[in-house]
Subunit: 231 residues, 2 copies
DNA sequence: TTAATATTGTGAAATTGTTCACAAGTTTGA
DNA sequence: TCAAACTTGTGAACAATTTCACAATATTAA
């Protein structure tokens, strides 16, 4: 009797890595959505969840959910669905939410102040550790318990405090110059609120929140009401 | 001598309307980008601009620019490019920026206050006319020159003042209920800042600014640094 | 034990979005 | 007046993304 061929049973690597496959921006955005959905389902006591139900949170198709998740591995059980708690943890790991990040904020104005006082960010692991401004009236004062430093010292302080991520809430006219300083300090992630195009090297990730653009989108849809649009 | 065949010379209709063609969300977003670019070029004194130069503002390809614009008509001149001032006005018209909009804001908290004091919105035609809150300490007080109304009167006031667009800056837990009121008042455009999924009827356009999602995107890119990603 | 039902994971098909490539038209300079 | 240099507008090719469809597997109930 010949011995049975042993099944290769090492832990299956994710599709994304195996294929050198690329994860699209939309997939990452939806991962955030799933994460939020799973938090809700967990709170409501669900132990497992189907791609169908997960899809409802966000007007997606079940196939889309399964495809997105399959990029990172096989997390579900056929016939049953996905284990809520476990999948939530897997996504947290994928999104980098299973740890804390050191954040600095530049521009302690209207937007900056709102962000500093927002309680949800620390809960998600984003800790605002340093504040910067160029206004002498704000420098060296405490702002909600955090000292405001002179933006002149930006690069050195960012390095000193091992800042992972910088939020930019300065006027558009200052955004590029501040960004260049941030980049020179080796920071690889920037969230920008200034309504302007900023140049960064390829290895730096820049995301922008552009409220004017969102309003323009809305006024576009008001003006074009009635014509067949895609969204 | 026979008379020349007269060229049909009626105003050419745009591709979008002719084809029943659909304008993608990305195209609208890029239109905002072009608009901003054109404003800059106009300020700098340019009379015409090529798709090539317009593309640089935003890391796009010239073909993309031409394709986007061709959805709405033929605005350029072969060999020359696009007339800056004229194209800017055309895009303003497409995006609905050649007029003013009546805006109401619900939730005069950190984010709401920042938005109320932002000077750029009125310049773009978005006039915040009404404020609402459910906090008795804020109701009937003036906030930067604008009276704060009780959210109980939301629907009636929105109709009374012919509000086109509502900004939601309330806690996530209140977002759906407030939205339902807004929708019942016949408002067709909503900009939401609460980090939650909101349901609206198909004829209502909802855009959301979700800062947590942007941060999650950034932490994802920090965690996945080095793997071949698409962005 | 079996049938009926549920649900994943994933190639393949369909759809959507982007880039190419070039004819057509414009300008510039000799 | 002509040629060289530009640049648009757009069909067609290509690429990316989404949806379909179904085999594989688990659960439940009789
Ligand atoms: N306020 C809003 O609702 C709103 C809406 C959309 C976009 N934005 C954009 O967000 C950004 C911030 O807006 P805001 O309303 O908070 O402005 P703001 O004027 O209230 O605050 C800007 C802060 O940046 C500081 N600053 C200026 N130049 C600086 C520099 N070189 N280095 C460090 N600090 C500097 C200022 O001293 C000020 O404290 C702007 O780009 C604005 O266009 C704001
Ligand atoms: N502050 C930030 O930086 C930040 C960042 C990301 C997201 N957000 C989101 O933006 C929204 C607003 O945040 P915020 O920091 O301004 O909160 P906030 O608590 O400062 O303000 C919320 C305001 O809404 C009012 N309100 C509550 N329930 C209401 C109701 N049913 N009707 C009318 N008004 C009501 C409150 O009285 C308060 O004035 C929240 O959903 C928050 O999660 C805020």
């Amino acid at each position: 009797m010949r011995s049975m061929v042993r099944q290769a049973h090492h832990k299956k690597e994710s599709h994304a890595r195996l294929t050198g496959g690329r994860v699209s921006e939309s997939t990452v955005r939806r991962l955030s959505l799933y994460y939020r959905g799973l938090s809700t389902f967990e709170r409501e006591g669900y132990k497992t969840i189907s791609s169908k139900d997960l899809a409802k949170e966000g007007r997606l198709t079940p196939a889309q959910v399964r495809k997105d998740l399959s990029f990172f591995g096989s997390f579900g059980t056929r016939g049953l669905g996905y284990p809520v708690k476990e999948l939530k943890e897997k996504i947290a790991r994928i999104l980098g939410l299973n740890r804390t990040w050191n954040v600095a904020l530049v521009g302690v104005g209207n937007v900056g102040s709102a962000l500093v006082s927002y309680k949800e960010f620390p809960k998600q692991g984003f800790n605002i550790k340093l504040l910067f401004d160029n206004d002498q009236r704000k420098i060296n004062k405490n702002h909600k318990g955090i000292q405001v430093f002179d933006v002149k010292d930006l690069a050195s302080k960012l390095k000193e405090h091992k800042i992972d991520l910088v939020i930019l809430a300065v006027p558009a006219s200052a955004a590029q110059a501040v960004t260049d300083d941030v980049v020179s300090a080796g920071v690889k992630s920037i969230l920008n609120f200034a309504p302007t195009h900023i140049k960064v090297p390829d290895d730096v990730t820049l995301r922008s929140v552009n409220m004017a653009m969102e309003l323009e989108h809305l006024s576009f849809s008001l003006v074009n009401k009635g014509y067949p649009l895609k969204f």
